[in-house]
């Protein structure tokens, strides 16, 4: 059984200081507290600066005695994050999880991971190799990915695309519709339904 009360409190707590921390957690949709969406700003002075990274959060039944399952939705170029799936390699999300940690502290740890990659314990071997052998190329690729996938313009679009796709519209049509109405999600929905 998920501790509903605790998750609720965590959400309140987290969103109280979201302006200062930049970190926010929202419900994924519907009324369930077991599927959340987190958002963290890319740390300054890193290739991720200026980006906003969306993280999919699934709260398992055993929470908080079992770690939340977190995964990047936004594509990111980082040694400890799969460039394909967004899977994160972070000890506190696995063996080192403690019930005293929260969703917010976990997101903060992920943010810290963006600043300080650990290429010796990689999730994405290709990225890790590049990080170790050719940092310049790594940094420019990471910056390019941030530009392409994590900038406010793109992030808004991506979220909207995802939501509309989940409603059952084909991705190509969704993108066209959003383009046609200048990014307004509701207008795009109307267009898609008409």
């Amino acid at each position: 059984m998920v501790d509903i009360a605790r998750v609720q409190k965590e959400l309140q707590e987290c969103n109280k200081d979201k302006d200062s921390s930049g970190i926010s957690v929202k419900l994924k949709g519907g009324n369930t507290l077991t599927h959340l969406v987190g958002s963290i700003p890319g740390p300054v002075a890193t290739p991720y600066e200026g980006g906003t990274f969306i993280i999919d959060i699934v709260i398992p039944d055993g929470y908080p005695f079992e770690p939340p399952k977190m995964q990047f939705v936004t594509r990111v170029w980082h040694p400890n994050i799969s460039s394909q799936s967004g899977a994160i390699c972070l000890d506190i999300l696995k063996k080192e999880w403690s019930p005293a940690l929260t969703i917010k502290t976990a997101l903060l740890s992920i943010q810290a991971l963006l600043s300080a990659p650990e290429p010796d314990d990689p999730q994405d071997a290709v990225v890790a190799q590049q990080y170790l052998k050719d940092y310049r190329t790594f940094a420019s690729t990471a910056r390019y990915w941030t530009e392409a996938y994590a900038k406010s313009s793109s992030v808004g679009i991506e979220e909207k695309v995802q939501r509309l796709v989940e409603m059952g519209f084909p991705e190509g049509m969704v993108r066209d519709a959003l383009n046609a109405v200048g990014g307004d999600e509701n207008a795009a929905l109307e267009k898609l339904c008409s």
Binding site: D3, A5, R6, K9, E10, G62, P64, F65, E66, I92, S98, P99, A100, L101, T105
Partner: protein, 594 residues
């Protein structure tokens, strides 16, 4: 594996049981002086004694390091129940390093309950305000509500981490107090509390280098504890004899590594060997298997001997084939003989050793049926001469035969690896190897011929012999017993000192030779002094541990101070534990597997 040699002790015991006086009276053997049998240092730990055995070690650590029981257990589990290692770390690195590594808090809150009151406390896990009575503070000082602790424990026990459940606080590596775990979990989930208990208890066997489950199938429920030397062979009280180090059958003087390779080799080659027995015939001169080459019925061995495939008899080299009926090929290639490839030579080499090993294992099996015959013979002799004559020489001879035969049969796989290329190619020069092999084979052959003589003597119908001839046989058997025992000992000395001892890397250890056979484990009896019980509070008095858990857990600690004997109270005390609690007949993972 059907080559398994096992002298079941049950039968051996039976053989002696009705003649109690025989025990230890084999002074006609090499021992000229009678030495009272000293209790074996190898102990069998039954489901009744596992708790006592664990407590014994716990108490030592509790006394020497002066700390509470669950901390002692945490330390011992961390150090795999190696108290000596633990003490040496304590001496070398000091208490704080020792404790920190294992997750034992150095400074305990001496009075853990004083801070708790009826006022409300915020639990940082569920983020609820709870009454001070409903929270628990661990030794590390971290305090959370009982519900959260319980939930945490349940998740960890289900994950199989019972032995080291860490505190819930982030980055706190302190190990939780088992008494708290037990009491909280049993309130919500009694069967899980049992599982926890079982994991803790079995840690004594599973994490302990010197204790191992008896490998019997079906499992007899026992574990064996050795002292000092893990390279030994033991006999469990269930009768199974095994190598303590690798848990395979007793295989000395083969090392564990050699034995493993040998078993694999036997499995891998069995098909080839079967094929060979169909497609080869032994050479009439050197007895190596010779393969038939094509349809020609004149075959030749690498030793140079030619023989007739049809009848197996030796033939002359130049001709004779006209006399072999059905022979049509007129060619005879000598180079076939010379160019026997290496692979084939290796196989023949293996087959030679395997045949010898097999021959002795087979003899051993046949001789095992001798037990009955021997018993009859002794009975006949006793009937013939009721004046209580001593016939120990008969049974002594039989068991000497078994022991020597065993050593002999395992000496073949040993020799196969010792003098082969597989393991020690770089360790000896060809010359050295030849010298050593000769030295060893001399001893092996001496032993072999005397074992065969002994076997022949024992098999004779001496119970029907006239008196004088009987006395002759008796002298022969007694002499051969002394000789084979000495030769076994010498062969082992040669192996340990001249062969394995000179190797660069000492990974090949063998169980030492025991003249009296494989050592039998004896039941563990634990004597505890009252003093030990009073050191350190094993269980906090105000801890809310109720019901059966405490009762079953407590016994060797408090309450036994009036007890001076050791084994007398053991059974009734443990009955509760073994019966009402859980069945230790199977290791945990076997139970779980069901």
């Amino acid at each position: 594996m059907d080559d398994y040699i096992n002298i079941s002790s049950e039968e051996e015991d039976e053989c002696f049981s009705d003649r109690e006086s025989y025990d230890g009276l084999d002074n006609e053997e090499s021992d000229s002086q009678w030495v009272p049998p000293k209790p074996s240092s190898i102990k069998v730990i039954t489901k009744e004694s596992i708790l006592a055995a664990q407590k014994e070690d716990l108490r030592r650590v509790m006394e020497l390091v002066s700390l509470r029981e669950h901390h002692a257990r945490t330390l011992l589990i961390y150090y795999r129940w190696d108290a000596e290692k633990l003490f040496s770390v304590l001496v070398e690195k000091g208490k704080s390093a020792l404790f920190a590594q294992a997750g034992v808090p150095l400074v305990e809150s001496l009075d853990p309950d004083t801070t708790l009151s009826s006022s409300m406390v915020m639990c940082n896990i569920c983020m609820e305000e709870v009454s001070g009575w409903e929270v628990t503070k661990m030794d590390c000082g971290h305090c959370f509500c009982n519900n959260c602790w319980t939930e945490h424990f349940i998740v960890k026990i289900n994950e199989g981490q019972s032995k080291r459940i860490r505190c819930m606080a982030h980055k706190c590596s302190s190990i939780c107090d088992e008494a708290v775990i037990r009491s909280l979990v049993s309130k919500r989930h009694p069967d899980l509390a049992e599982k926890f208990e079982r994991f803790l208890l079995e840690s004594y066997i599973e994490d302990n280098k010197m204790v191992k489950w008896c490998p019997s199938i079906p499992h007899c429920g026992n574990a064996i504890r050795v002292e000092d030397d893990e390279f030994c062979e033991v006999e469990c009280t269930c009768g199974l004899q095994f190598c303590f180090s690798c848990l395979s059958e007793a295989h000395s003087p083969c090392s564990c590594c050699m034995w493993e390779l040998w078993l694999k080799k036997c499995r891998d080659e069995s098909e080839t060997v079967n094929w060979l027995t169909v497609h080869t015939k032994p050479c009439p001169k050197c007895h190596k298997p010779v393969e038939k080459n094509g349809g020609c019925n004149l075959v030749s061995c690498i030793c140079g001997q030619c023989f007739c495939w049809l009848c197996g008899a030796a033939t002359g080299r130049d001709h004779t084939w006209s006399s072999i009926s059905g022979h049509s090929c007129g060619r005879f290639k000598e180079d076939v003989v010379k160019n026997s490839e290496r692979a084939k030579r290796d196989l023949y080499r293996y087959m030679h050793y395997h045949n010898m090993y097999k021959a002795h294992t087979d003899s051993f099996k046949q001789e095992s049926t001798l037990r009955e015959t021997i018993r009859e013979k002794v009975e006949n002799l006793e009937k013939r001469d009721p004046s209580a004559r001593d016939f120990t020489w008969v049974t002594n001879g039989l068991y000497r035969l078994f022991r020597s035969r065993r050593a002999l049969s395992y000496s073949y796989p040993f020799a196969f690896y010792m003098f082969g290329d597989e393991l020690f190619k770089g360790e000896m020069t060809e010359k050295e190897r030849e010298i050593k092999q000769n030295l060893f084979e001399d001893q092996q052959q001496q032993l072999e011929s005397n074992v065969e003589k002994l076997s022949k003597c024992i098999e004779e119908p001496f119970d029907q012999f006239p008196e004088e001839e009987l006395m002759n046989t008796r002298m022969q058997v007694i002499n051969l017993c002394v000789i084979t025992d000495k030769l076994c000992k010498k062969m082992y000395e040669c192996i340990e000192n001249d062969l394995l001892g000179s190797l660069l890397f000492g990974i090949h250890n063998i169980a030492p030779y025991h003249s009296k056979g494989i050592e039998k484990a004896t039941e563990l009896t634990v004597c505890h002094t009252s003093k030990a019980c009073n050191t350190g509070p094993a269980i906090k008095p105000d801890d809310d541990i109720n019901g059966c858990t405490l009762e079953s857990y407590q016994p060797s600690g408090s309450g036994s101070s009036d007890q001076s004997g050791c084994s007398s109270r053991k059974r009734p005390r443990m009955e509760n534990f073994g019966g009402a609690f859980f069945d230790l007949n199977l290791p945990a993972e076997v139970m779980e597997g069901n």
